[in-house]
Amino acid sequence: MTYDHGALSRAADSGPVTETLTGGPPAGGTAMAGLSRLMDRLPATTRHAVPALAYAELRLLLRHPLTLLGPALMTAVLFSHTWEWPQDSFRVITAQMVMEWGVPAFFAANLIGTAARRAGTDELLSTTPVDRAHRTAAACLAALGPFVLAGLFQAVLLGLCLMFQVDLGRTPTVWEMAAGPLCVLGATLLGTATARWAPYRGVPFAVMFLLVGFNYVVYQSSERFLGFLVEFVLWTSPMWTFQEAPGSAFWHAVYLLALGLGAGALAMLRDSAQRGLWLGAGAALVLAAVLSGVWQLP
């Protein structure tokens, strides 16, 4: 029998357990409780390696040229933008990031996730105590880096708009501003999930094609909030009238978060010994995405 990666991680995870569950019922399915429960099941030293590994993955991710391309493209857009029309300016600071930053973030995470396989390091790394399941966990944690960076970018951008009294029509809500960073988070996690499940050439392009295609289709429909690139204000007739897009920005943010974390659960499902846990988490997140997806619509 071959020790496939999944089997390896399952066997490794079921190795000597130095700490047991702390007792008490599972904490109602919250993500943090699930993560805590999972972490408690791991051998102490292996468990403690995950944050250090996440930091290493974060450094790899943040200095990847494609990760840097996101803020570079956004900056280029900001400098080339005229800031003349409020609808247009509103779109730039709320939705622009989805494509300019989200797409490169997806490919960056995917390339980092498949780097060991492409370089032929997988065999070497598969014989270390901290196995691929933990590397995936670390990669998922590292996805918080681009998310925080994108959030900071948005905050600074909004601050500059307010400082220079840019006409945005109205001040965007935190949920509208969160859409971009949440898409960056989801894209990074989905890039990792794609790397874990189908680490083959061309697959990330196919996945991105599907995502963009889906977004394009729903953008043409009345349920445009189901997409990722959503404009919260509309160009309407008569021209230049500032009009709110129908739909809930709050539930759209929840929808994006659920989809993003769902991608993370999908990544974890690949190699984890606690498949049931991640299947359950994935199902809960799909349910959350469906409900918030419905509730966000007008």
């Binding site: 190795g15 390696a49 250090a52 060991a116 070497l124 790394l125 014989t127 270390t128 105590p129």
Partner: protein
């Protein structure tokens, strides 16, 4: 350190390992064998990457089926073709592997990383990207990561492939040093490396162990069976630089005998004749 009995590994219809039995203790052990003999399969099995289909294997006194994690904590492994991720510097790569070896305390880990990098003589290039290193330096980098955490068992699969003579010399120096107080298993088909480095040799042929002993014992198999002649003769022969044929096999009466090498013994083993003679 390693006890293997009746190991079998099958790929489709072919048997990579066919009832392999051997033991390995402290020191440097050479795994010799032609291509396809099962060396890499065996090394991967010892590295807990593969499990045997049949047979018993104990690594560091433990069963790899149940105690894989514990074994991995005491193991260093260099695969035959270790790739290195683009963009890593020497230090970063070793540091990354150190984290995977559960070294979580940053300062202690960095000290350990610096130690192993120094041990393989790469300190001067520790900040350089791996892609800028020579083949020999990359091999040393591969060895550096095996030394992390001072493992009791180090497995090296064909570590001298592609090295120039000077690099091989440096490699031998390094392995002989690290093999002083631990078990090092070195898979190779370079008999010179075995003769120069190993205190024990296991010869594989078609997935079976056909010899287990010291380099001197394998060399002794060819004692009185290597000779020079003007004509081609023996089981194996080749023309040397001075125009004479160096022959290996039963020596004819009056033949000018030559001092055998480990390679001669190894070639005889592969031919099957020496094993019969030894028996």
């Amino acid at each position: 350190m390693i006890e293997a009995a009746g190991l079998v590994k099958t790929y489709g219809r072919g048997r990579a390992l066919d009832g392999l039995t051997f033991t390995v203790g402290k020191g440097v052990t050479g795994l010799l064998g032609p291509n396809g003999a099962g060396k890499t399969t065996l090394i991967r099995m010892l590295a807990t990457v593969l499990a045997p289909d049949e047979g018993e294997l104990r690594l560091l006194g433990r069963d790899p089926a149940g105690d894989r994690l514990e074994i991995r904590r005491r193991l260093g492994y260099l695969p035959q073709e270790p790739g290195y991720q683009r963009g890593f510097t020497v230090f970063e790569f070793v540091d990354y592997v150190a984290i995977l070896k559960e070294m979580v305390e940053r300062r202690a880990r960095h000290d350990e990383v610096r130690r192993v990098i120094e041990e393989v003589g790469l300190t001067s290039v520790s900040g350089k990207r791996i892609r800028t290193l020579s083949g020999g330096m990359r091999r040393r980098l591969g060895i550096a990561q095996t030394l992390l955490g001072d493992p009791e068992l180090i497995l090296l699969d064909e570590p001298t492939v592609g090295l120039d003579p000077e690099q091989r010399l440096r490699f031998r120096e390094l392995i002989s040093h690290i093999g002083q107080d631990r078990a090092v298993v070195l898979s190779t088909h370079q008999t010179e490396d075995v003769a120069a480095l190993c205190n024990r040799v296991v010869v594989l042929k078609a997935g079976r162990c056909v010899f287990e002993g010291t380099p001197e014992e394998i060399r002794a198999l060819a004692e009185g069976r290597v000779w020079f002649s003007a004509e081609k003769s023996g089981v194996l022969s080749w023309r040397t630089g001075d125009g004479l044929f160096r022959n290996i096999g039963p020596a004819p009466e009056g033949a000018r005998l030559a001092e055998p090498t480990v390679e001669d013994g190894y070639l005889l083993l592969l031919g099957g004749t020496a094993a019969e003679a030894a028996a």
